[in-house]
Symmetry: C2
Subunit: 331 residues, 2 copies
Amino acid sequence: MISIKDIAKEAGMSPATVSRVINGKKYVNPQRREQILKLIEERGYVPNKAARSMVLQRSYTVGIIIPSAFNMFQRQLFSVMEKRLGSFGYYTLFFFVNFNAESEDECLNRLKAEKLDGLIMIHEMKKPYFYEYLEKVKLPVVIATFCYGNIPAIHIDEENAAFEAISHLVNLGHRKINLLSGGDFSFGRQRMEGYYKALDAAGIERDERRVLFARWYSMEYGINAMREMLLRSRDFTALFAATDELAIGAIRALTDEGIQVPEDVSVIGFDDIEISNFLVPRLTTIHQPIGEIGEETALALHRQISGSNSVKQDRTLSYQLIIRESTAKVN
Amino acid sequence: MISIKDIAKEAGMSPATVSRVINGKKYVNPQRREQILKLIEERGYVPNKAARSMVLQRSYTVGIIIPSAFNMFQRQLFSVMEKRLGSFGYYTLFFFVNFNAESEDECLNRLKAEKLDGLIMIHEMKKPYFYEYLEKVKLPVVIATFCYGNIPAIHIDEENAAFEAISHLVNLGHRKINLLSGGDFSFGRQRMEGYYKALDAAGIERDERRVLFARWYSMEYGINAMREMLLRSRDFTALFAATDELAIGAIRALTDEGIQVPEDVSVIGFDDIEISNFLVPRLTTIHQPIGEIGEETALALHRQISGSNSVKQDRTLSYQLIIRESTAKVN
DNA sequence: ATGAAAGCGCTAACAT
DNA sequence: ATGTTAGCGCTTTCAT
């Protein structure tokens, strides 16, 4: 592979001069600069990242921690981030993690092996020592879609959003409202909390038998959980699915049983992933400002890394109830 | 950050010995080995990847080139690959590329800056010099879902699969079959070829007015293209969408116009992404063995890298027509 | 304005 | 079995 020495030798100069040109430093003869630039172009030379990372003690790389089984919401999110990060001049390195301790440990190890400039977390790690490590090495971190300690976080008010979703159902006359949720993450707990509080506000009694937890927030788990819910009781007129993907699975299970959405059962989701507006019926849901979350997260991290840290980095963005076709007045 | 020297010093030994322990080399006193292992564990030491990459002249990292706007099929594909690659001990580095020349150039530059062990391409690069570079530096490469030159490739017989899809429609009595496809990639051309040949075989005249190309194979482009198609003419009873996502967009556009699927128009997709079996109606489609493609690609690359290159790496895997609810007999 | 030299963290060849 | 040393490709003092 072609190195800085090769370029230097061919140009009849020292590696130091070539390095100066590459990094746009001053103190280099304009003519020589031109000559070197031309040579680099011709030879297609690109500096070795590992070597640069070694001496600089940084990598211009930002890590993104995301569930291996990332859903479409998270997918849209990281696409935005990757793009924005690129515009700031960072490379992006993904850390896919599963829902178990070993996977978190492995992620931590990989983290240590890199000289990351910063880290974005779209996935909530369980192990406290993970966060302790980040703290210890003072790695710039921004969290998206949840909170932890006093790490800067970009998110919406999950609880109030869920509250509003349920209120929409209540306003439609529904009183028998079930909840289908997923694994144990804070957004799940908050959405459940909003569900319960909205019930309270409407004077509807809390009933744990109306609540079911799938293992994860996916279509696959959604359909299975919904089948189980139907086995327990069909006495409900509305369903709040904690994510759109869960809603998609639920609608499929409902339809299979000849239960029509929204005629027989209203379904409301959460996230407003792209496909929700393509479904038949279109899904009523809570819109998360995905683009904005991604942008703000990338920006907050960049600010932290470059030290222009004056502004408070925590942001609670606004959500929106999107009423489409999957919810209707109760019969 | 803690380094190998720190560990060595604390253990009262040389870095070389520690290195031997880390890399499981022979010739190190079992007692010392234990002691060092314990110390490494305690201190949470992990070797710096850049440093190792420098001296080894390799990174244990495999690159995956994928469209920034990767669809769900590609998403499922790379998840499988990432997992399998991990089991072989490789890290995975993603290269997201857009559909323009600058993006390809940037990708090439990033590629040069890394000491990748190998490369997987899920996205078809246009620039010949990209492939020339890979050839020049003898980087192990495996392509998934398309072909180029004599680079090992894992894929299905796209043309025959499309042929079979259309034949299914023909068997249902359809004669007015439209094609909705996307941008200029080889799989698109092959699927179109299969479409035309099946028409020929059925004695149906080829008619370019039945064919429309969206800019990309997504739901968003699918819905718009379908609207345009409907504007041109409503005289068709079946639609072949070149990807499931295009089909989803098309079904939405059809439904919006009061055209029922499959009663008025049968729709068949291609890929069999996860959601296709959750839609209402469930989508008839061509199943690509996503898991197998991913596995085989990772395996083929691993074989190439580790030099056990005896087997021919090219594989044509088998597809399957999945008949579900979006296609029906013509009225 | 330029070059020589040191050093980032690691591994491997070479001594011992 | 273990330590010493050189060197991977780069940037950055420090001389000049």
